[in-house]
């Protein structure tokens, strides 16, 4: 691969992720609107919000770590996108692999946690404490899934994983070979996106949106951008692991949107759990299903 193509991919991949992410946010809000029997926002609404927030006149900061936190939150996801192969673009996916991706995806959370910490708001701190606890909860089934997939395909290189799946057609998809792990993965996805019933760290009625509590202007805008990336990353990762990645952009996007629509729909039909209820649920059913699936895979 020439260096020019690589550089182009490194620029394009985050950009595509952002644009697709914007539409995912739109879909999230539209699904909510449909379930709540109303119209919902206009198509460009997510973009309006972000442009407006970046265009605020006063930007209230609580210190330099607050600033750096947002930079890390957005930048970490920008970096993560280049580790995530999409049709026609592999980026540096073969330089890092699945484990690295999982860990790079924690960087934005860490940045956010530090930034929120400096805001010196108890609501934010509780929110971060809950977010990290939630991470502990959903990562257990998630790593079982990651392990199972890596074992089944014999590699942690996402490019190879996708190639192996595509070679076998639908029958070769991870979801066909490892249905139980795919189900466990859906649970983890719900937790990863922090949607109800696992929406414990935003919880407006309890901690006034937790980490977002002191975020204004471009800080909040950064979080909105991060949300786009987060939805995209979670969707694409799931598709890459279980649904054969993307043969072409059309099918790829169809699959990604379909996957992300599941947690979004569930989100509007449930209240949120308490923290320990969430952990208990996450460590019970998905882990059980995941371990069972793992046992099948490793046999």
């Amino acid at each position: 691969m020439s260096i020019q193509t690589l550089l182009m991919e490194l620029v394009l991949m985050p950009l595509v992720a952002f644009v697709v992410g914007l539409f995912m946010v739109l879909m999230l809000r539209r699904i909510g609107a449909k379930l709540q029997r109303r119209v919902g926002p206009p198509v460009m609404q997510p973009l309006y919000d972000i442009v407006k927030l970046y265009g605020k006149k006063t930007q209230i900061s609580h210190g330099w770590m607050h600033d750096i936190g947002i930079v890390m939150a957005v930048g970490g996801y920008v970096a993560a996108e280049t580790l995530l192969p999409v049709p026609g673009m592999d980026g540096i996916a073969d330089k890092g692999g699945l484990v690295t991706l999982v860990y790079v995806m924690m960087i934005p959370s860490l940045g956010l946690a530090l930034g929120v910490g400096q805001c010196a708001n108890p609501n934010g701190s509780i929110g971060i404490a809950r977010a990290l606890t939630a991470m502990l909860a959903y990562d257990v089934p998630f790593v079982i899934v990651v392990f199972g997939v890596a074992w089944y395909f014999g590699t942690t290189n996402l490019v190879d994983i996708i190639a192996i799946q595509q070679a076998g057609g639908v029958a070769g998809w991870g979801a066909t070979a490892m249905p139980l792990l795919a189900i466990a993965g859906l649970f983890a996805l719900q937790g990863m996106l922090g949607k109800q019933p696992f929406e414990i760290y935003i919880a407006p009625a309890e901690i006034a949106t937790g980490p977002m509590v002191e975020m204004s202007g471009k800080y909040l805008g950064g979080l909105f951008v991060m949300q786009c990336f987060q939805l995209y990353t979670a969707g694409v990762l799931y598709v890459s692991l279980f649904l054969g990645g993307g043969e072409n952009w059309l099918f790829f996007l169809l699959k990604v949107f379909a996957v992300v629509a599941i947690p979004m729909t569930v989100a509007f039909l449930f209240p949120r759990y308490k923290t320990e209820q969430m952990i208990r649920l996450m460590w019970k059913w998905p882990v059980m299903i995941g371990l069972l699936g793992l046992a099948f895979v490793m046999h």
Binding site: G75, G96, V104, S125
Partner: protein
């Protein structure tokens, strides 16, 4: 003179210098230079080590007709580098204002410096041991030197040190028994002889051997279930001592485990030892001990409210990763384990330095009495940030690389449960280190800390060096992996094929140069996006959302205690159920032993105590 002669001589000289002239205020600075000198001698040795040859010590001692010899191979050299590095930076840290304050407050700086030098010296002797007898003597010296350093602070530290020495003595007994067992079969204690005799031993004998040596070394390493002494003993040690302990001291146990279990007995032989009534073999047992050592102490650390204790408990937990990697026995895993020794030492040292810098300025390490210091001690904050990213094992710091190696090894070997355990430990680490940095540096700045300033240069400089080291070895892990590869070949493990940025594997490789490069490119884009927005303006911390209310400085609104309350609601019963039961059972057993020993020595002054014990040890060894 071989380089090893020079090194040991110079190290002994440092000790003698401090013993004689340690009372002068410049002694600490000179000692720091001396440690630097020792490091130079070590560097001088490097080309021979790279060749794979062994550097010997000229002096040989004959005891009971046993030839005692000392030599450095790649394994010793690798550990010695870390030891001296930790010694150098700790001494540097102590040599300036910190030491001055310590002395003014009535601390015995002379004893601290001497104990540090004694530790370094004895560890070098241990690392250089060329046969089991020398190993045992070195082991005892290290134990007593550690004890000396632990007692410097007095008070609660003495209790912790007593507990330690109880454990250490019982561990030494086990080792001695193992040595006797081997000696009775091999007729000698040279490594060569032992390697020959091991295959002839029966399964039961090897079983006993592994149990004896293993438990003896595990005490020092703080492996489960012998971990209970360590946290208090390390945390109560004053500043640089704690950093030194945290960085390397416990790793002597790992060194011995590598030497005896991996090099002499061999991992293959371990796999043959089945555990009765189970489908586990000895190696699995070690792996599970490692995983439990990762998980349990990490989650105990989560509950600590004293920053030093929190770090000390993590020290125990991180040892599990090293052992886990090693027991996997493949190139990746053992490389990860060995690399983690280095990485962890840097992380732990910088974290302890940062915590003691905070203590230096505020007088407390109680996580509930701090907060908001980021604006007052930004460099210490940054040091702690780098440290926690490394300790938690996130890119781009070096801790990520070693943990990645261990994970990949577990994935390739097909150990899902061990993998899960390791990940749960990592997640617990992330949780508790965030608590550490949040409660110390983030959140509400307390009224009484408004005047606090950054720590002085003598304390900041070692932190900056360590930060750079952590980052550099994170970006280019190949630098350390080269050494690790040497160690692997010296020990007889498969050698990892590393590149500068990590490792190339058919089943998914790692190139940190790329990963970090892209990460920082991402940060760049993030920053670009961020600074494309309007100008920021910093507001006061009281200009804050409080449900519409007005905040005043007198109100405490910093969330610090019981930080992961939601999680604790679920897992608190487990602490009560398992950990406390474990601790109380072991505690009552060990309490009996401890009380016996304490009754003997408890009344004595530490220095007299030391003298007596040295005499006892010498007579014991000689007779």
């Amino acid at each position: 003179m071989t380089p090893l002669d020079e090194l040991l001589l110079f190290s002994g000289l440092t000790l003698v210098f401090l013993l004689l002239l340690g009372r002068f205020s410049y002694a600490g600075k000179v000692a720091t230079v001396f440690y630097g000198g020792q490091l130079l001698f070590l560097a001088k040795m490097a080309d021979r080590i790279v060749d794979g040859s062994i550097v010997t010590f000229s002096l040989q001692v004959e005891l009971f007709g046993q030839q005692m010899s000392w030599r450095f191979d790649a394994l010793s050299w690798f550990f010695a580098v870390i030891t001296l590095g930790a010694g150098l930076l700790s001494s540097w840290y102590a040599s300036g204002e910190w030491g001055e304050r310590f002395r003014r407050r009535g601390g015995n700086l002379w004893l601290l410096n001497v104990a540090l030098a004694a530790n370094v010296f004895s560890m070098l002797i241990l690392l250089g041991s060329g046969d089991l007898l020398a190993l045992f003597i070195g082991w005892e010296l290290v134990s007593w030197a550690s004890f000396l350093l632990m007692t410097v602070a007095g008070g609660r530290a003495i209790q912790a040190a007593m507990r330690y020495i109880t454990y250490a003595m019982s561990g030494a007994m086990a080792i001695l028994a193992g040595i006797v067992l081997l000696w009775s079969h091999a007729g000698g204690l040279q490594y060569g002889q032992i390697i020959e005799v091991i295959p002839q031993l029966s399964q039961a004998q090897v079983w006993l051997l592994v149990a004896l040596f293993g438990s003896g070394f595990a005490v020092k390493m703080g492996l489960l279930p012998f971990h209970l002494w360590q946290a208090a003993a390390y945390a109560e040690t004053p500043g640089p001592g704690a950093a030194f302990f945290g960085a390397i001291s416990a790793r002597m146990g790992l060194y011995a485990i590598i030497l005896v279990l991996v090099q002499l007995i061999g991992l293959a032989r371990l796999s043959e030892l089945m555990i009765p009534f189970t489908f586990l073999d000895m190696r699995d047992l070690w792996a599970w001990i490692a995983v439990l050592t990762i998980i349990l102490p990490t989650y105990i650390a989560l509950r600590q409210s004293d920053a030093r204790y929190l770090l000390a408990w993590h020290g125990i937990g991180q040892g599990g990763y090293m052992l886990l990697g090693l027991v996997m026995g493949d190139a990746l895993g053992s490389a990860g384990g060995l690399l983690h020794v280095f990485n962890y030492a840097t992380n732990q040292a910088v974290l302890f330095f940062a915590v003691f810098a905070v203590m230096f300025r505020t007088g407390t390490a109680d996580l509930n009495k701090l907060g908001g210091l980021i604006t007052r001690m930004p460099i210490s904050f940054f040091a702690m940030l780098v440290g926690i990213i490394g300790l938690a094992g996130l890119p781009p710091m070096n801790g990520f690389v070693s943990k990645w190696f261990v994970y990949r090894s577990l994935m390739i070997e097909g150990e899902p449960l061990l993998f899960l355990g390791a990940i749960i430990g990592t997640l617990g680490t992330i949780l508790s280190v965030y608590k550490l940095i949040h409660n110390t540096f983030l959140g509400q700045l307390r009224v009484e800390h408004v005047e606090v300033r950054e720590a002085p240069w003598s304390m900041v400089a070692p932190m900056i060096i360590l930060m750079l080291l952590i980052f550099a070895t994170g970006v280019a892990p190949g630098l350390v992996l080269d050494w690790v590869a040497l160690v692997q070949s010296a020990v007889g493990l498969p050698v990892v094929e590393n590149t500068l940025g990590g490792v190339e594997l058919a089943s998914g490789s790692l190139d940190m140069l790329w990963v970090v490069g892209v990460l920082f490119a991402g940060f760049g884009i993030g920053a670009l996006l961020f600074y494309s927005g309007g100008r920021t303006r910093q507001v006061h911390q009281l200009d804050n959302y409080a449900g519409g209310h007005f905040l005043t400085a007198e109100i405490r609104y910093h969330y610090s205690d019981n930080f992961y309350a939601g999680l604790m609601h679920l897992i608190r019963p487990w602490y009560r159920g398992s950990f406390v039961w474990l601790e109380s059972t072991l505690g009552s057993l060990l309490g009996i032993a401890a009380s016996l020993i304490q009754r003997l020595y408890g009344a004595l002054h530490p220095s007299i105590y030391l003298l007596v014990t040295v005499v006892v040890t010498l007579t014991w060894v000689l007779l």
